[in-house]
């Protein structure tokens, strides 16, 4: 009888650690250089996604804009927010690159072509990146200590079910979308 109790105790302990403790240990939270507010840029600055994240004529994707393109408008602080003060004083003035923690950063060997998806397939940014484009502040960034990737690639929960757009960017997510649309690209399509 005592053996059974010991067994159940061990079972409960490791399940608790596995489902609650392990995720805490696996991800470490890293601060963004500043709290960037997408919403205010879209509304007050009357901009849309492609004004900063634009696909150039030769198909190269600009990705996260560099400090110089922020400096174009923010040579001096336009508003009173704390984030903008940091931007101007410690990044635009000394021309230092902002070290953004990119939520959807894929490993080096993955080639995601924004030109094909945005220009050719006319997909919306929200389909993959979720509501990040209209957020008022940068959501917290969690990095997987083992793989070094952002938590947004695997997804917030251990079991990858019910993932809203922007929460999961693993290979199977891309594949399921490709399967639905019947456009399978094979290994060469997405890897380099």
């Amino acid at each position: 009888m005592r053996v059974l109790i010991a067994f159940l105790l061990g079972l409960a302990g490791s399940l608790a650690f596995g489902w609650w403790g392990f995720p805490q240990l696996l991800y470490q939270r890293e601060p963004q250089p500043l709290q960037y507010n997408h919403k205010i840029h879209i509304e007050k600055g009357s901009m849309e996604c492609s004004s900063c994240h634009e696909v150039a004529a030769d198909g190269q994707f600009a990705g996260i804009p560099r400090t110089a393109s922020c400096g174009a408008c923010h040579a001096e602080p336009l508003g009173k927010t704390e984030a903008e003060k940091i931007l101007v004083t410690s990044y635009v003035a000394p021309e230092r690159e902002l070290d953004w923690k990119v939520y959807s950063r894929q490993p080096m060997n993955v080639r995601f072509s924004h030109a094909v998806h945005v220009n050719k397939a006319a997909m919306k940014c929200e389909e993959c990146h979720g509501g990040r484009g209209s957020a008022t502040a940068a959501e917290p960034f969690y990095r997987n200590r083992v793989t070094g990737e952002s938590r947004n690639v695997w997804g917030p929960r251990m079991i990858r079910v019910g993932l809203k757009p922007g929460e999961g960017m693993k290979m199977s997510d891309c594949e399921s979308c490709h399967e639905q649309k019947g456009v399978s690209a094979g290994c060469l399509g997405c890897h380099r």
Partner: protein
């Protein structure tokens, strides 16, 4: 080859025709290939058998009396079409003959490093990272951003500069088409005598179709290589017919 790759555009079968009369064996293609594909400069221990050389130029000595004494033969992965030896043997599908481009694609991130594909390839077109590739301090700045450097323990091969294929596809996608068309791999761009012609075997009026009578090496094995050769000297044709090398006979010196 994953049969369910539904093709969103007319598939291409990229290939090459290399003119052995034009090749002067200068090696520009070898260094351009290494620079484009982020191959690390060889450490002191690397020799001609364990170095990462996706493209190698062999020196062929003319055993007969007629014709020039030597010919130089650039040889990379032949992107075999039929029963591709490496694709059929890879235990975890790390190698795949891409339906849309005919390129045999090697996935370093899925490769276990079991090296079975290297024994299967009759053209020795595959190299293995025996140690961690390392660059001298600071030289990481000269890495090509479009190519992912490989890690130790994985096999590498020529994939017709897929970085340039992707760049061509991105450029085409901006104005509405998914077809990368005929792009220029690094060795084709570097060859001073334009000995290497890159094209699409599916294209009837393409450069490959108009390259006249070509031959391939080890055609008897039935793997249908897509890199073919052309030469006016028939001692090269005869050598290509024969399979394994005969024992080293007395070489012609006169």
């Amino acid at each position: 080859m994953s049969a369910t790759q539904k093709t969103s555009r007319t598939p291409r079968r990229y290939g090459m025709v290399i003119d052995l009369d034009r090749c002067t064996g200068c090696g520009a293609c070898v260094i351009a290939c290494a620079a484009e594909n982020n191959v690390a400069p060889g450490a002191a221990r690397e020799n001609d058998r364990n170095s990462i050389s996706l493209l190698r130029v062999f020196t062929l000595n003319n055993p007969t009396a007629a014709g020039r004494r030597t010919a130089f033969l650039p040889m990379m992965c032949m992107q075999c079409e039929h029963e591709t030896p490496c694709v059929t043997v890879c235990p975890q599908q790390a190698v795949e003959l891409d339906v849309l481009s005919g390129i045999v694609e090697q996935m370093p991130q899925r490769c276990l490093g079991c090296r079975y594909c290297m024994t299967a390839c009759p053209y020795h077109a595959r190299s293995f990272n025996w140690g961690d590739p390392s660059w001298p301090a600071g030289m990481e700045a000269t890495l090509n951003p479009a190519v992912a450097p490989r890690m130790r323990g994985v096999v590498e091969k020529c994939d017709f500069c897929q970085s340039r294929l992707h760049a061509a596809q991105d450029a085409a996608a901006v104005n509405g088409s998914l077809d990368p068309g005929i792009y220029t791999p690094a060795c084709v761009e570097a060859c001073p005598t334009q000995a290497i012609t890159f094209g699409d075997w599916n294209d009837p009026e393409g450069a490959l179709a108009k390259s006249g009578e070509t031959f391939a090496w080890l055609e008897g094995l039935g793997t249908q290589p897509k890199v073919r050769y052309r030469s006016g000297q028939n001692w090269l044709h005869e050598m290509a017919e024969r399979g394994g090398a005969a024992p080293a006979k007395e070489e012609r010196h006169g």
